[in-house]
Amino acid sequence: MSATRAAVRSLGELMITAGLVLLLFVVYQLVWTNLAAEHAQHKVTDTLRQDWLREGGTGATGTIHLSKSDFGKGFAFLHIPRLGRKYSVPVVQGVSLPDLSRGVGHYPKTAVPGEVGNFAVAGHRATNGEPFAHLDHVKVGDSLVVETRGTWYSYVVDKVQIVEPSAVWVLDPVPGKPDQQPTQQLITLTTCNPRWASTQRMILFGHEVQTQPTSEGRPLALTKDH
């Protein structure tokens, strides 16, 4: 075999290998990350539910306190009735990629549920569990429900907006009005837009309409039919 032939053959083998690796990456991204995220979410959910039970959870109220050591840990559940009666995803502290593969992530510098200000949460729309895959189905007037150890917080969606990725104003205590003192409990959800791109962000704004202790059962928004 001539040297040229050997070189061409090696090049061909390398290219086939590269093709196989790319295919494997697609499998990893579309299948593996979702399986891994599902597993991680179950673990976060179980840990949190057990934690609530152990602390005498149901009925206990109070503000949520989050510290640096809580990154990646769950502290609440987000329910979106429009996305399914059983739709429930753990809310973990932090918005890094490892945090977001365990649920939806709470922007650390924003308010916690129940606190006056803006409770802001980011979630994947494609792969890694994709909790916000169908967030575009949620409409103005729909309910968002946040479950914490002692309290259900029900919110109503006020506005859906597509913004630039740099639009950090959506996280303001009063979104877009940095000088204004917040008087309401707000919620903001962020994800990528379009679904398979990063050119924009899709934002859902909402405000709290009702709170009720978990001892009183599930809130109306989760029991009524859609």
């Binding site: 083998e13 990893y28 991204q29 992530g105 792969t127 990528c192 398979w196 990063s198 050119t199 934002i203």
Partner: protein, 51 residues
């Protein structure tokens, strides 16, 4: 390249096949646990936060 690797695997054939499988599994494991999680950071649809 692959022919060269194949020639250098230990005989007999069953052992050669088994070694090849282990090598492939090892490469896939490294890809899934190290290379792909790193490469993932560059994917656009994982950028879901405003900053």
């Amino acid at each position: 390249m692959y022919a060269w690797i194949w020639r250098h695997l230990p005989s007999p054939l069953p052992l050669r096949l088994a070694t090849a499988l282990v090598l492939v599994a090892g490469v896939v494991a490294v890809l899934f646990t190290v290379v792909f999680p790193w490469a993932e950071h560059t994917l656009p649809f994982l950028h879901v936060t405003v900053n």
